[in-house]
Protein backbone atom coordinates (compact mmCIF):
# COMPACT_ATOMS: atom_id res chain seq x y z
CA UNK A 1 0.00 0.00 0.00
CA UNK A 2 1.21 3.56 -0.48
CA UNK A 3 3.19 4.83 2.42
CA UNK A 4 1.62 8.02 3.73
CA UNK A 5 3.64 10.86 5.17
CA UNK A 6 1.50 11.67 8.15
CA UNK A 7 1.39 15.09 9.62
CA UNK A 8 1.62 15.28 13.35
CA UNK A 9 -1.74 15.07 15.14
CA UNK A 10 -4.72 17.14 14.40
CA UNK A 11 -3.96 20.36 16.21
CA UNK A 12 -2.07 21.30 13.09
CA UNK A 13 -3.53 22.62 9.83
CA UNK A 14 -5.81 20.49 7.79
CA UNK A 15 -8.97 18.45 8.01
CA UNK A 16 -9.87 16.60 11.20
CA UNK A 17 -9.65 13.46 9.12
CA UNK A 18 -6.74 11.10 8.58
CA UNK A 19 -4.85 11.99 5.42
CA UNK A 20 -5.49 8.66 3.69
CA UNK A 21 -9.22 9.08 4.22
CA UNK A 22 -9.16 12.47 2.52
CA UNK A 23 -7.30 10.87 -0.35
CA UNK A 24 -9.74 7.99 -0.61
CA UNK A 25 -12.75 10.32 -0.76
CA UNK A 26 -11.03 12.38 -3.45
CA UNK A 27 -10.36 9.20 -5.39
CA UNK A 28 -13.97 8.08 -5.00
CA UNK A 29 -15.07 11.43 -6.36
CA UNK A 30 -13.08 10.82 -9.53
CA UNK A 31 -14.64 7.38 -9.79
CA UNK A 32 -18.10 8.90 -9.36
CA UNK A 33 -17.32 11.16 -12.31
CA UNK A 34 -16.09 8.19 -14.32
CA UNK A 35 -19.23 6.17 -13.80
CA UNK A 36 -21.42 9.23 -14.24
CA UNK A 37 -19.92 9.72 -17.67
CA UNK A 38 -20.37 6.03 -18.52
CA UNK A 39 -23.88 5.69 -17.15
CA UNK A 40 -24.81 9.13 -18.44
CA UNK A 41 -23.75 8.05 -21.90
CA UNK A 42 -25.97 5.00 -21.63
CA UNK A 43 -28.93 7.03 -20.37
CA UNK A 44 -28.76 9.62 -23.10
CA UNK A 45 -28.09 7.11 -25.87
CA UNK A 46 -30.97 4.98 -24.73
CA UNK A 47 -33.40 7.83 -24.42
CA UNK A 48 -32.45 8.95 -27.89
CA UNK A 49 -34.03 5.81 -29.23
CA UNK A 50 -37.66 5.80 -30.30
CA UNK A 51 -40.24 4.61 -27.85
CA UNK A 52 -42.50 2.97 -30.39
CA UNK A 53 -42.45 -0.73 -31.01
CA UNK A 54 -40.99 -2.64 -32.69
CA UNK A 55 -37.97 -0.46 -33.27
CA UNK A 56 -37.22 0.41 -29.72
CA UNK A 57 -34.68 -0.39 -27.11
CA UNK A 58 -34.50 -4.16 -26.60
CA UNK A 59 -36.40 -5.67 -23.72
CA UNK A 60 -34.45 -7.86 -21.32
CA UNK A 61 -36.13 -10.89 -22.81
CA UNK A 62 -34.88 -10.11 -26.30
CA UNK A 63 -31.30 -9.93 -25.14
CA UNK A 64 -31.48 -12.84 -22.73
CA UNK A 65 -31.09 -10.74 -19.65
CA UNK A 66 -32.57 -12.47 -16.64
CA UNK A 67 -33.70 -10.03 -14.00
CA UNK A 68 -33.62 -12.30 -11.00
CA UNK A 69 -29.97 -13.10 -11.64
CA UNK A 70 -29.27 -9.40 -11.56
CA UNK A 71 -31.26 -9.09 -8.35
CA UNK A 72 -29.29 -11.98 -6.90
CA UNK A 73 -26.06 -10.22 -7.79
CA UNK A 74 -27.36 -7.10 -6.09
CA UNK A 75 -28.08 -9.09 -2.98
CA UNK A 76 -24.61 -10.66 -3.07
CA UNK A 77 -22.97 -7.26 -3.19
CA UNK A 78 -25.16 -5.95 -0.40
CA UNK A 79 -24.08 -8.88 1.76
CA UNK A 80 -20.45 -8.19 0.94
CA UNK A 81 -20.87 -4.52 1.89
CA UNK A 82 -22.28 -5.67 5.19
CA UNK A 83 -19.41 -8.06 5.84
CA UNK A 84 -16.75 -5.51 4.99
CA UNK A 85 -18.17 -2.96 7.38
CA UNK A 86 -18.26 -5.67 10.06
CA UNK A 87 -14.62 -6.42 9.28
CA UNK A 88 -13.68 -2.81 9.96
CA UNK A 89 -15.80 -2.84 13.08
CA UNK A 90 -14.01 -5.94 14.37
CA UNK A 91 -10.62 -4.38 13.68
CA UNK A 92 -11.59 -1.30 15.68
CA UNK A 93 -12.44 -3.61 18.56
CA UNK A 94 -9.04 -5.29 18.00
CA UNK A 95 -10.72 -8.63 17.28
CA UNK A 96 -8.45 -9.60 14.40
CA UNK A 97 -9.78 -13.13 14.11
CA UNK A 98 -13.25 -11.82 13.38
CA UNK A 99 -11.88 -9.18 11.07
CA UNK A 100 -10.03 -11.81 9.07
CA UNK A 101 -13.16 -13.92 8.89
CA UNK A 102 -15.24 -11.04 7.58
CA UNK A 103 -12.59 -10.07 5.05
CA UNK A 104 -12.57 -13.66 3.81
CA UNK A 105 -16.36 -13.58 3.55
CA UNK A 106 -16.26 -10.34 1.58
CA UNK A 107 -13.69 -11.83 -0.74
CA UNK A 108 -15.85 -14.89 -1.23
CA UNK A 109 -18.98 -12.88 -1.91
CA UNK A 110 -17.13 -10.68 -4.39
CA UNK A 111 -15.96 -13.77 -6.19
CA UNK A 112 -19.51 -15.11 -6.24
CA UNK A 113 -20.58 -11.86 -7.89
CA UNK A 114 -17.97 -12.29 -10.58
CA UNK A 115 -18.90 -15.93 -11.12
CA UNK A 116 -22.55 -15.02 -11.62
CA UNK A 117 -21.46 -12.26 -13.99
CA UNK A 118 -19.36 -14.76 -15.91
CA UNK A 119 -22.39 -16.99 -16.21
CA UNK A 120 -24.37 -14.06 -17.60
CA UNK A 121 -21.63 -13.16 -20.05
CA UNK A 122 -21.49 -16.76 -21.14
CA UNK A 123 -25.16 -16.67 -22.05
CA UNK A 124 -24.49 -13.60 -24.18
CA UNK A 125 -21.65 -15.37 -25.95
CA UNK A 126 -23.86 -18.40 -26.53
CA UNK A 127 -26.55 -16.34 -28.15
CA UNK A 128 -23.94 -14.25 -29.93
CA UNK A 129 -25.29 -11.04 -28.47
CA UNK A 130 -22.07 -9.15 -28.93
CA UNK A 131 -21.38 -5.65 -30.19
CA UNK A 132 -21.08 -5.58 -33.94
CA UNK A 133 -22.60 -9.01 -34.43
CA UNK A 134 -26.31 -8.46 -34.13
CA UNK A 135 -28.36 -8.09 -37.27
CA UNK A 136 -30.06 -4.77 -37.59
CA UNK A 137 -31.24 -4.29 -41.14
CA UNK A 138 -34.62 -2.73 -41.22
CA UNK A 139 -37.53 -4.41 -42.85
CA UNK A 140 -40.79 -2.70 -43.51
CA UNK A 141 -43.45 -4.84 -41.92
CA UNK A 142 -47.00 -4.12 -43.04
CA UNK A 143 -48.34 -6.32 -40.26
CA UNK A 144 -47.28 -3.75 -37.75
CA UNK A 145 -49.20 -0.98 -39.41
CA UNK A 146 -46.08 0.82 -40.58
CA UNK A 147 -46.09 1.94 -44.18
CA UNK A 148 -43.65 0.22 -46.49
CA UNK A 149 -40.99 2.37 -48.00
CA UNK A 150 -41.69 3.38 -51.56
CA UNK A 151 -38.69 2.10 -53.40
CA UNK A 152 -39.06 4.33 -56.39
CA UNK A 153 -37.25 7.34 -54.98
CA UNK A 154 -33.51 7.48 -55.69
CA UNK A 155 -32.77 8.21 -52.08
CA UNK A 156 -34.66 5.17 -50.90
CA UNK A 157 -32.87 3.00 -53.42
CA UNK A 158 -29.50 4.31 -52.29
CA UNK A 159 -30.38 3.66 -48.71
CA UNK A 160 -31.57 0.15 -49.40
CA UNK A 161 -28.33 -0.55 -51.24
CA UNK A 162 -26.29 0.70 -48.34
CA UNK A 163 -28.24 -1.27 -45.80
CA UNK A 164 -27.97 -4.35 -47.88
CA UNK A 165 -24.24 -3.91 -48.24
CA UNK A 166 -23.69 -3.70 -44.52
CA UNK A 167 -26.25 -6.32 -43.74
CA UNK A 168 -24.15 -8.80 -45.70
CA UNK A 169 -21.78 -9.00 -42.77
CA UNK A 170 -24.65 -10.33 -40.67
CA UNK A 171 -25.77 -12.48 -43.58
CA UNK A 172 -22.40 -14.21 -43.81
CA UNK A 173 -22.18 -14.67 -40.08
CA UNK A 174 -25.58 -16.37 -39.99
CA UNK A 175 -24.60 -18.45 -42.98
CA UNK A 176 -21.56 -19.81 -41.17
CA UNK A 177 -23.61 -20.47 -38.08
CA UNK A 178 -26.28 -22.32 -40.04
CA UNK A 179 -23.63 -24.48 -41.64
CA UNK A 180 -22.35 -25.38 -38.21
CA UNK A 181 -25.89 -26.20 -37.10
CA UNK A 182 -26.30 -28.36 -40.17
CA UNK A 183 -23.41 -30.48 -39.06
CA UNK A 184 -24.73 -30.92 -35.55
CA UNK A 185 -27.62 -33.08 -34.52
CA UNK A 186 -30.59 -31.17 -33.16
CA UNK A 187 -34.30 -31.40 -32.93
CA UNK A 188 -35.58 -32.44 -36.34
CA UNK A 189 -38.00 -29.57 -36.87
CA UNK A 190 -35.49 -26.89 -35.96
CA UNK A 191 -32.83 -28.57 -38.08
CA UNK A 192 -35.18 -28.57 -41.06
CA UNK A 193 -35.97 -24.88 -40.72
CA UNK A 194 -32.29 -24.00 -40.42
CA UNK A 195 -31.39 -26.06 -43.43
CA UNK A 196 -34.16 -24.48 -45.49
CA UNK A 197 -32.94 -21.04 -44.64
CA UNK A 198 -29.37 -22.02 -45.42
CA UNK A 199 -30.34 -23.38 -48.77
CA UNK A 200 -32.15 -20.21 -49.66
CA UNK A 201 -29.18 -18.13 -48.61
CA UNK A 202 -26.59 -20.13 -50.46
CA UNK A 203 -26.23 -19.56 -54.13
CA UNK A 204 -27.76 -22.39 -56.11
CA UNK A 205 -25.39 -24.59 -58.01
CA UNK A 206 -26.21 -26.75 -60.91
CA UNK A 207 -25.12 -30.21 -61.78
CA UNK A 208 -23.34 -30.52 -65.08
CA UNK A 209 -25.54 -29.87 -68.07
CA UNK A 210 -28.46 -28.62 -65.99
CA UNK A 211 -29.91 -25.15 -66.09
CA UNK A 212 -29.74 -23.09 -62.96
CA UNK A 213 -32.91 -21.53 -61.72
CA UNK A 214 -31.79 -18.50 -59.79
CA UNK A 215 -33.69 -17.69 -56.66
CA UNK A 216 -33.24 -14.33 -55.11
CA UNK A 217 -31.54 -14.97 -51.77
CA UNK A 218 -33.26 -13.44 -48.81
CA UNK A 219 -32.13 -9.94 -47.92
CA UNK A 220 -30.27 -9.51 -44.65
CA UNK A 221 -33.44 -8.04 -43.17
CA UNK A 222 -35.44 -11.08 -44.18
CA UNK A 223 -32.74 -13.37 -42.84
CA UNK A 224 -33.02 -11.53 -39.58
CA UNK A 225 -36.76 -12.04 -39.39
CA UNK A 226 -36.45 -15.73 -40.26
CA UNK A 227 -33.66 -16.23 -37.73
CA UNK A 228 -35.78 -14.62 -35.04
CA UNK A 229 -38.63 -16.97 -35.82
CA UNK A 230 -36.35 -20.00 -35.67
CA UNK A 231 -34.91 -18.83 -32.39
CA UNK A 232 -38.38 -18.38 -30.91
CA UNK A 233 -39.36 -21.89 -31.88
CA UNK A 234 -36.13 -23.29 -30.50
CA UNK A 235 -36.57 -21.47 -27.24
CA UNK A 236 -40.07 -22.81 -26.90
CA UNK A 237 -38.51 -26.24 -27.09
CA UNK A 238 -35.77 -25.29 -24.67
CA UNK A 239 -32.96 -25.51 -27.24
CA UNK A 240 -30.17 -22.92 -27.33
CA UNK A 241 -29.02 -22.24 -30.87
CA UNK A 242 -25.76 -20.45 -31.56
CA UNK A 243 -27.44 -18.17 -34.05
CA UNK A 244 -27.17 -14.39 -34.00
CA UNK A 245 -30.58 -12.78 -33.63
CA UNK A 246 -31.71 -9.59 -35.29
CA UNK A 247 -32.54 -7.06 -32.62
CA UNK A 248 -33.15 -3.36 -33.30
CA UNK A 249 -30.61 -1.33 -31.33
CA UNK A 250 -29.10 -4.64 -30.29
CA UNK A 251 -25.54 -3.56 -31.07
CA UNK A 252 -25.90 -0.35 -29.13
CA UNK A 253 -27.43 -2.30 -26.28
CA UNK A 254 -24.58 -4.77 -26.29
CA UNK A 255 -22.03 -1.96 -26.46
CA UNK A 256 -23.52 -0.23 -23.44
CA UNK A 257 -24.06 -3.45 -21.51
CA UNK A 258 -20.54 -4.75 -21.90
CA UNK A 259 -18.92 -1.36 -21.33
CA UNK A 260 -20.82 -0.68 -18.12
CA UNK A 261 -20.86 -4.10 -16.55
CA UNK A 262 -17.33 -4.74 -17.79
CA UNK A 263 -15.91 -1.71 -16.06
CA UNK A 264 -17.91 -2.38 -12.97
CA UNK A 265 -16.60 -5.95 -12.93
CA UNK A 266 -13.06 -4.66 -13.34
CA UNK A 267 -13.56 -2.48 -10.30
CA UNK A 268 -14.95 -5.43 -8.36
CA UNK A 269 -11.92 -7.44 -9.42
CA UNK A 270 -9.61 -4.69 -8.21
CA UNK A 271 -11.30 -4.76 -4.85
CA UNK A 272 -10.99 -8.53 -4.71
CA UNK A 273 -7.26 -8.31 -5.36
CA UNK A 274 -6.89 -5.91 -2.45
CA UNK A 275 -8.96 -8.14 -0.18
CA UNK A 276 -6.79 -11.09 -1.18
CA UNK A 277 -3.69 -9.14 -0.21
CA UNK A 278 -5.23 -8.21 3.13
CA UNK A 279 -6.15 -11.84 3.72
CA UNK A 280 -2.58 -12.80 2.95
CA UNK A 281 -1.37 -10.27 5.47
CA UNK A 282 -3.73 -11.72 8.04
CA UNK A 283 -2.68 -15.28 7.33
CA UNK A 284 0.98 -14.49 7.96
CA UNK A 285 -0.02 -12.70 11.14
CA UNK A 286 0.70 -9.17 9.98
CA UNK A 287 -2.83 -7.76 10.26
CA UNK A 288 -3.34 -5.79 13.42
CA UNK A 289 -5.67 -3.18 14.96
CA UNK A 290 -3.44 -0.48 13.48
CA UNK A 291 -4.90 -1.49 10.12
CA UNK A 292 -8.42 -0.51 11.10
CA UNK A 293 -8.21 2.67 9.03
CA UNK A 294 -6.95 0.73 6.05
CA UNK A 295 -9.92 -1.62 6.35
CA UNK A 296 -12.22 1.35 6.56
CA UNK A 297 -10.74 2.79 3.40
CA UNK A 298 -10.99 -0.38 1.35
CA UNK A 299 -14.48 -0.62 2.76
CA UNK A 300 -15.26 2.83 1.39
CA UNK A 301 -14.08 1.73 -2.04
CA UNK A 302 -16.12 -1.43 -1.81
CA UNK A 303 -19.26 0.43 -0.79
CA UNK A 304 -18.77 2.71 -3.73
CA UNK A 305 -18.59 -0.29 -6.06
CA UNK A 306 -21.79 -1.51 -4.44
CA UNK A 307 -23.50 1.84 -4.99
CA UNK A 308 -22.56 1.81 -8.67
CA UNK A 309 -24.17 -1.60 -9.01
CA UNK A 310 -27.23 -0.36 -7.10
CA UNK A 311 -27.73 2.07 -9.96
CA UNK A 312 -26.57 -0.19 -12.77
CA UNK A 313 -28.98 -2.97 -11.87
CA UNK A 314 -32.23 -1.06 -12.29
CA UNK A 315 -30.98 0.95 -15.24
CA UNK A 316 -29.92 -2.12 -17.15
CA UNK A 317 -32.23 -4.85 -15.99
CA UNK A 318 -35.41 -3.29 -14.78
CA UNK A 319 -36.50 -0.04 -16.38
Amino acid sequence: MTQAVYDTPQEHMGMPLPTPKVAMWLFLVTEIMFFTALIGTYIVLRHGTPAQSPFKWPTPHQVHLIEWIGALNTFVLICSSFTVVLAHHAAVKADMKKATLYVALTLALGTVFLVIKAYEYNSKFEHDILPGHIGESRLPDPKLGEPTIALDTPRAIEREKHEHAVGMQYFHRVQLQLEAIKKSSLDAEIQKECNTLLDEMTAPTAAEGQAVVFHRPPSPAEVGTRVNEILEKAEAKGITLHLTPAIPFGNLWASCYFAMTGFHALHVFGGIVVFALILLMALIGRLGPQHATMLELIGLYWHFVDIVWIFLFPLLYLV
Partner: protein, 124 residues
Protein backbone atom coordinates in the same frame (compact mmCIF):
# COMPACT_ATOMS: atom_id res chain seq x y z
CA UNK B 1 -14.18 6.62 34.79
CA UNK B 2 -13.07 3.13 35.58
CA UNK B 3 -11.61 0.84 32.96
CA UNK B 4 -14.56 -1.49 32.98
CA UNK B 5 -17.02 1.41 33.00
CA UNK B 6 -15.38 2.86 29.96
CA UNK B 7 -15.32 -0.51 28.32
CA UNK B 8 -19.03 -1.06 28.83
CA UNK B 9 -20.12 2.24 27.39
CA UNK B 10 -17.73 1.67 24.53
CA UNK B 11 -19.11 -1.80 23.96
CA UNK B 12 -22.64 -0.49 24.12
CA UNK B 13 -21.85 2.09 21.48
CA UNK B 14 -20.29 -0.58 19.33
CA UNK B 15 -23.25 -2.88 19.65
CA UNK B 16 -25.51 -0.06 18.59
CA UNK B 17 -23.37 0.36 15.52
CA UNK B 18 -23.59 -3.31 14.64
CA UNK B 19 -27.33 -3.09 15.08
CA UNK B 20 -27.43 -0.14 12.70
CA UNK B 21 -25.40 -2.03 10.11
CA UNK B 22 -27.65 -5.05 10.38
CA UNK B 23 -30.80 -2.97 10.09
CA UNK B 24 -29.49 -1.29 6.98
CA UNK B 25 -28.55 -4.66 5.52
CA UNK B 26 -32.07 -5.96 5.99
CA UNK B 27 -33.52 -2.73 4.62
CA UNK B 28 -31.33 -2.95 1.52
CA UNK B 29 -32.39 -6.52 0.87
CA UNK B 30 -36.04 -5.61 1.24
CA UNK B 31 -35.67 -2.65 -1.11
CA UNK B 32 -33.99 -4.82 -3.71
CA UNK B 33 -36.93 -7.17 -3.53
CA UNK B 34 -39.31 -4.21 -3.82
CA UNK B 35 -37.73 -2.99 -7.03
CA UNK B 36 -37.72 -6.50 -8.45
CA UNK B 37 -41.39 -6.90 -7.60
CA UNK B 38 -42.20 -3.51 -9.11
CA UNK B 39 -40.62 -4.70 -12.33
CA UNK B 40 -42.65 -7.89 -12.27
CA UNK B 41 -45.77 -5.85 -11.53
CA UNK B 42 -45.38 -3.93 -14.74
CA UNK B 43 -44.93 -7.18 -16.60
CA UNK B 44 -48.17 -8.47 -15.12
CA UNK B 45 -49.92 -5.20 -15.78
CA UNK B 46 -50.73 -4.37 -12.17
CA UNK B 47 -49.18 -0.93 -12.31
CA UNK B 48 -48.23 1.22 -15.23
CA UNK B 49 -44.73 1.82 -16.50
CA UNK B 50 -44.21 5.29 -15.11
CA UNK B 51 -45.17 4.30 -11.60
CA UNK B 52 -42.79 1.40 -11.65
CA UNK B 53 -39.94 3.47 -13.05
CA UNK B 54 -40.47 6.02 -10.31
CA UNK B 55 -40.54 3.35 -7.64
CA UNK B 56 -37.48 1.59 -8.96
CA UNK B 57 -35.36 4.70 -9.31
CA UNK B 58 -36.50 6.04 -5.94
CA UNK B 59 -35.56 2.73 -4.37
CA UNK B 60 -32.14 2.91 -5.97
CA UNK B 61 -31.57 6.39 -4.57
CA UNK B 62 -32.71 5.34 -1.10
CA UNK B 63 -30.42 2.31 -1.16
CA UNK B 64 -27.47 4.39 -2.23
CA UNK B 65 -28.15 6.95 0.49
CA UNK B 66 -28.39 4.22 3.13
CA UNK B 67 -25.12 2.66 2.05
CA UNK B 68 -23.46 6.03 2.00
CA UNK B 69 -24.84 7.22 5.29
CA UNK B 70 -24.40 4.17 7.46
CA UNK B 71 -21.87 1.89 5.77
CA UNK B 72 -19.59 4.67 4.58
CA UNK B 73 -19.86 6.50 7.91
CA UNK B 74 -21.12 9.67 6.32
CA UNK B 75 -23.44 10.12 9.30
CA UNK B 76 -20.28 10.99 11.17
CA UNK B 77 -18.10 12.45 8.45
CA UNK B 78 -20.54 14.45 6.36
CA UNK B 79 -19.54 17.80 7.82
CA UNK B 80 -15.96 17.09 6.92
CA UNK B 81 -16.32 15.76 3.38
CA UNK B 82 -19.52 17.24 1.98
CA UNK B 83 -17.59 19.89 0.06
CA UNK B 84 -15.81 17.10 -1.82
CA UNK B 85 -18.96 15.13 -2.63
CA UNK B 86 -21.60 17.78 -3.35
CA UNK B 87 -19.84 19.53 -6.26
CA UNK B 88 -19.34 16.28 -8.09
CA UNK B 89 -23.01 15.47 -7.97
CA UNK B 90 -23.92 18.90 -9.23
CA UNK B 91 -21.40 18.48 -12.03
CA UNK B 92 -22.62 15.02 -12.94
CA UNK B 93 -26.27 15.97 -13.06
CA UNK B 94 -25.46 19.11 -15.01
CA UNK B 95 -23.49 17.16 -17.56
CA UNK B 96 -26.33 14.73 -18.17
CA UNK B 97 -28.82 17.56 -18.46
CA UNK B 98 -26.67 19.37 -21.01
CA UNK B 99 -26.41 16.22 -23.09
CA UNK B 100 -30.19 15.89 -23.25
CA UNK B 101 -30.95 18.31 -26.08
CA UNK B 102 -28.36 16.97 -28.45
CA UNK B 103 -28.34 13.28 -27.79
CA UNK B 104 -31.87 12.65 -26.62
CA UNK B 105 -34.31 15.22 -27.90
CA UNK B 106 -32.73 15.73 -31.27
CA UNK B 107 -32.92 12.05 -32.03
CA UNK B 108 -36.32 11.16 -30.66
CA UNK B 109 -38.21 10.51 -33.83
CA UNK B 110 -41.87 11.25 -33.75
CA UNK B 111 -41.79 10.17 -37.33
CA UNK B 112 -41.56 6.84 -39.01
CA UNK B 113 -38.83 4.85 -37.24
CA UNK B 114 -37.84 3.33 -40.53
CA UNK B 115 -36.59 6.71 -41.67
CA UNK B 116 -33.23 7.91 -40.38
CA UNK B 117 -33.73 10.23 -37.42
CA UNK B 118 -34.17 13.87 -38.29
CA UNK B 119 -33.39 16.59 -35.81
CA UNK B 120 -36.54 18.02 -34.30
CA UNK B 121 -34.98 21.33 -33.42
CA UNK B 122 -35.81 22.82 -36.78
CA UNK B 123 -33.72 23.66 -39.78
CA UNK B 124 -30.39 25.31 -39.15
Amino acid sequence: MTETGHATTHDAAHDLRVKAYFTVFIALSIFTAVSFIANEAVRQGWINLYTSVTIILAVAVVKAVLVGLIFMHLNFDWGRVYFIIVPIFILGVMMMMVLLPDIVIAWQPSQNPLEPPVSTTGTR
